[in-house]
Amino acid sequence: MQFRLEKRAEISRSMLYFTPVAAVLLTMIMGAIIFTILGFNGAVAVREIFLTPLTNSLKWQDLAVKSAPLIIIAVGLSIGFRANVWNIGAEGQYIAGGLAATGVALITHQMSGWWLLPLMGVAGILGGMAWVAVPAFLRVKLNVNEILTTLMLTYVAVQLLNFLVFGPWKSPTSFGQPQTVLFNNDQILPYIIPGTIVQAGAPIAIFIAIFAWVLMSKSIFGFQIRTVGTAPNAARYGGFSANQTIWFSLLIGGGLAGFAGMLEVAGPFNRMVPQFPTNYGFTAIIVAFLGRLHPVGVMVAGIVLAISFVGGEIAQTTIGLPNAAVGLFQALMLFLILAGDILVRYRIKRVGQKSEVSSS
C-alpha cells in the first residue's frame, strides 16, 4: 500500500487550528522519549517543563514577564511573515532597541520626569527600525535576501553591545563588571500589580496584539500585507507596491522588537548587561508560527513558549535537566509546526497498488 499527498482545493480550516495543538502534544511525547533515552525521567521532564508553570500559581507572574516580549516581537514578525518577508533577525533588532533606550537613559541619567520612559520607548523603536533598515534597503534596492542580512546583523548587534558595556558605557562604580549604571527611578518601568514582578510590559503586549489584530483584519494596510503575501501578481494588479510592503513590514517588525528591547532593559534588567540577549528574538519566530501568524494566536503561543522557558528553569533545579533542554523542546516544536503545515494544503491519500505501475 502506498500513500500520496494530494493538493486540497481549499486550505483546511480545521487543520489550520489542529496542527499547532498537535505539534505541542507531539513535542511533549517526543521530548519525553528523547530525555528517557538520555537517562532522565522523560515523563517528569515534560511535566516540569510544560505543566508545573501552570499548576504552581507562584510561577504565573514569571509567565507574564516572559511572554510579554515574546508576544510583542512575534506580533511584529507575524505581520512580515504574512507578507512573505522573512525577518529572522529580531534578536538583533531587540538588542539595538535595548541599546538605543540605554543610550537615552545614560544621557538623561541626571534628569527626572514622566517623559523619560516614553522617550526611551521611542528610542527603542527607532533603534530596532534602524537595525532592520539595512536589510530592507538591501532587499529593495539590490534584491539581497533579507533572511541572511537580518540574521547576520544580529551578531553585529551582539558585538556592539559587548563593545559598549565593556567600554564606553561601563559603570565607574561596578568594580570592573561589564555593565552600565543602574537606571534612575523614572527610567524603570512601574510595577502594575503590587507585590509581584509584573511590570508594564504585560498589558502593553496585550494592547499591541489587539491593535495588530484590528490593523491586519480591518485596515487596508493589513489587506495589502495579506495580498502581497498570498498573491503577489494580484497585489501588483491591485496597485499595492511590493517594495513599500517590504519596507513597512520590516520596519514594523524591527520597531516592535526594538520596543521589546526597551521594555526589557527598563524592566527586568534596569541596566544594560552582556546577558541582555536572551533569545527572545529567535523564540518569537516559533511564537509567530505557533500562533498561525494571527495576533490572537500569537498571544496564546507567547504564553506556551513562556511556559517552556519558565518550566526549563524549574526542571534545571528540580531534576537537573541541562539548560539546552528548553532549546531542544522549542526547536522540536517549530519543526513539528512547519512539518504539520503540509496537512493544511494537502491531504494524505491512500493509493491502491494497481493504479500506478511504478512511481520510482
Binding site: 481549499e10 480591518k218 487596508i220 489587506f223 495579506r226 498573491a231 501578481n233 494580484a234 494588479y237 496597485g239
Partner: protein, 524 residues
C-alpha cells in the same frame, strides 16, 4: 520509402491529465522514417506535453507508443536517447562559461575523451554543414550558434527521431534557412523529424505532414503543401473563421484611449518585447487585439493596466490626459480599468472572499475604504451587487473566490470592473476557459458597456469572439501590432495570415501589403 517499412513512431490514444485540465486527449498519429512531421497548435494546445512524454520526461496516463514496430516505453530521457530520440528544446541548457566542446561533453551519456569527442563533433559538423568552433566560449555565441550546439549534441547520438520544439522562435530569417537545409538533409538520410511550431509558413515550406492539436485533441491531419495558411489557421484556432454579420456601424465619440509609439523591453527571458505599438479607441468602440498567445499580449495588458510603466507619460493618453507614468491605482481613479488573462492569483486572490476581491480593485472608485480602514458594509454590498447583476453562482459575498467555477469567477471579475463604469476597459481573454453561457453573458455585458459610452479593448486568441464583438481589430505578432482594420468587410485570410506569423517573418506590418504576402506564402 518502402511501403512495408514500419512507422518510426506510432502514438495510440495518448492521454495526459493535469489537475483541472486534460492536456492530451487520446492523441494518435504516426511518423514514418525520413518524414518531417509538423505538430501544429496554439500555445496550450498540448504540444509540449506530448513531446515530453515521447522523450520520457513525463509519463502518459493512458495510451501506447510503438517504435519501429515494437512497443515502446521510456521512463526517462536517457532511455529515450538510447532508443535514438534526440530533442532540441526551445530554451537551451548551456553553460555560458564553458566552451562549445565542454558543453557537448557534459550532455553526453557515454564516456569519451575530449579528443575523441572533438573528432566526432567535427565530423558531424562537416557532414551537415554546421559551422561552429569547438573551442569558443558559449557566452560569445549568437542564439543561432547556441542552437547549433544543441543540434550537434542531438546528432552525435545518430538519432532516428529528432524533436525540435519551436526551433525558429529565436532565429533570424537567415538562420532559419540554414536550419531547414540541415533538417532536410537529415530527413533524406532517413531520420524522422517531429517539428513543433505554430508558424504556418514554415510548416508549409518544410514539413511533409502535419498533425493539428487544439485543446489537447487531434483536430486535423493534413499535407501542409496542399493546404493554405488560412485553412491550417482555421484548424489551429478552432472552428471555421466565419464571416459574421454586424449591424450598421455605430457613430463613435471622442478618442478615449490613445496609445502612441509604445515600446517595452522584455521583463524576463521568456517575455516578449513590445515594439512601437500605436492604436486608438473611441467612445462606444470595441477594439480587438487578435494574435496567437505569447506574442506580447500579457505585456500589452501589463503596460496598459499600469503594472508595468510606459517609458513616456504621453505613450498612453486617456481622454486627453497623459497616464503612461501612472500606477494601477492612479489609472483606475482617472478611469482606466483592466482585467488580466489569469483569473487565479492575478485578477483575483483565490484564498480571499468575494468581498475582499471586490476591495482589491474597486476600493477607490466605489469608496470601499475610508481613512485607511476597510468599510465592511459597502464592500459586502458591492460584492452582492456584482453577484446579483452578473448572475454569479456563489454562496454569497463571503465565499472564497477559489470555490467558484472558472466561468462564475470570470463573471464576478468582469462585473467588478464593469460596474465601476470606467471610461476605458481593457480585458484579456474575457472568455478563456469559460462555459458558453457565461461567455455569452460576458460578451453582452461588454457590448452594453460600449453602447453606454465606454471604450473597450479586448485582447483575445479567439478570433470568432473578436469578430463578433469588435468594430475594429488589429493583430499582435512578436510584440508588434498591425494596423487597425475595420471588422466590417474584413478578409479572414488577412487576419489568419497575420496571426500565423507571416508578417513577422517578412517584417512587414502593413495590412495593405497582405495580398503580396499571400502570394509569397503560396509560392513558398
Amino acid at each position: 520509402m518502402p511501403d512495408n517499412a514500419p512507422n518510426r513512431l506510432e502514438l495510440n490514444g495518448i492521454t495526459k491529465q493535469f489537475p483541472g485540465v486534460l492536456a492530451n486527449d487520446t492523441v494518435s498519429f504516426n511518423i514514418a522514417p525520413g518524414e518531417i512531421h509538423a505538430l501544429l497548435g496554439e500555445n496550450g494546445a498540448g504540444k509540449s506535453t506530448l513531446v515530453k512524454m515521447i522523450y520520457g520526461i513525463m509519463k502518459s496516463d493512458a495510451g501506447s507508443m510503438v517504435w519501429d514496430g515494437e512497443p515502446f516505453e521510456v521512463s526517462n530521457p536517457k532511455e529515450a536517447r538510447a532508443k535514438g530520440i534526440g530533442m532540441v528544446f526551445q530554451h537551451f541548457s548551456l553553460f555560458e562559461a564553458l566552451t562549445v566542446l565542454e558543453n557537448i561533453a557534459l550532455g553526453m551519456d557515454g564516456s569519451l575523451s575530449l579528443k575523441e569527442l572533438e573528432t566526432k563533433v567535427v565530423e558531424v559538423m562537416q557532414a551537415y554543414g554546421l559551422t561552429l568552433q569547438p573551442d569558443r566560449m558559449v557566452s560569445s555565441l549568437s542564439v543561432g550558434e547556441r542552437q547549433r550546439i544543441e543540434i550537434v549534441r542531438a546528432l552525435l547520438l545518430n538519432p532516428k527521431l529528432l524533436i525540435m520544439d519551436e526551433p525558429t522562435s529565436v532565429l533570424t530569417p537567415q538562420e532559419v534557412k540554414q536550419l531547414f537545409t540541415t533538417l532536410r538533409q537529415l530527413a533524406s538520410e532517413g531520420c524522422s523529424i517531429l517539428y513543433i511550431s505554430h508558424k504556418l509558413n514554415e510548416i508549409k515550406e518544410l514539413c511533409h505532414n502535419a498533425t493539428i492539436l487544439r485543446g489537447g485533441k487531434v483536430v486535423g491531419e493534413c499535407n501542409p503543401a496542399e493546404e493554405t495558411s488560412k485553412s491550417m489557421a482555421e484548424m489551429m484556432i478552432g472552428g471555421s473563421l466565419k464571416e459574421i454579420s454586424k449591424g450598421e456601424t455605430n457613430i463613435f465619440g471622442d478618442v478615449l484611449l490613445n496609445v502612441g509609439s509604445l515600446s517595452l523591453a522584455k521583463s524576463h527571458d521568456f517575455g516578449t518585447a513590445l515594439k512601437d505599438i500605436s492604436f486608438e479607441v473611441r467612445q462606444g468602440e470595441i477594439f480587438g487585439v487578435a494574435g496567437v498567445a505569447g506574442n506580447g499580449q500579457n505585456e500589452l495588458l501589463a503596460v496598459l493596466s499600469g503594472e508595468a510603466l510606459a517609458k513616456g507619460e504621453d505613450d498612453i493618453i486617456l481622454h486627453g490626459k497623459s497616464i503612461g507614468h501612472f500606477g494601477p491605482n492612479h489609472r483606475r481613479k482617472v478611469g482606466l480599468c483592466c482585467v488580466p488573462e489569469e483569473r487565479n492569483g492575478h485578477a483575483a486572490v483565490s484564498d480571499f472572499s468575494l468581498s475582499d476581491n471586490a476591495i482589491l480593485t474597486a476600493r477607490h472608485r466605489k469608496n470601499l475604504v475610508k481613512t485607511g480602514m476597510i468599510l465592511n458594509g459597502p464592500s459586502v454590498a458591492y460584492a452582492d451587487e456584482i453577484i446579483k447583476k452578473f448572475g454569479v453562482m456563489a454562496t454569497g459575498s463571503r465565499a472564497n473566490a477559489g470555490s467558484l467555477s472558472g466561468g462564475n469567477l470570470q463573471k464576478f471579475i468582469m462585473g467588478r470592473e464593469i460596474l465601476q463604469v470606467p471610461e476605458v476597459l481593457v480585458v484579456s481573454q474575457p472568455t478563456w476557459g469559460v462555459d458558453a453561457g457565461a461567455a455569452a453573458f460576458i460578451h453582452q455585458a461588454l457590448v452594453d458597456m460600449a453602447q453606454a459610452g465606454s471604450a473597450i479593448v479586448v485582447i483575445s486568441q479567439d478570433l470568432d469572439e473578436l469578430l463578433a464583438l469588435c468594430e475594429t481589430i488589429s493583430v499582435i505578432n512578436e510584440g508588434t501590432l498591425s494596423k487597425a482594420m475595420e471588422v466590417k468587410g474584413i478578409s479572414i485570410d488577412e487576419v489568419g495570415l497575420l496571426m500565423g506569423g507571416v508578417h513577422g517573418a517578412n517584417n512587414v506590418d502593413q495590412a495593405n501589403d497582405i495580398d503580396k504576402e499571400v502570394s509569397n506564402a503560396v509560392q513558398a
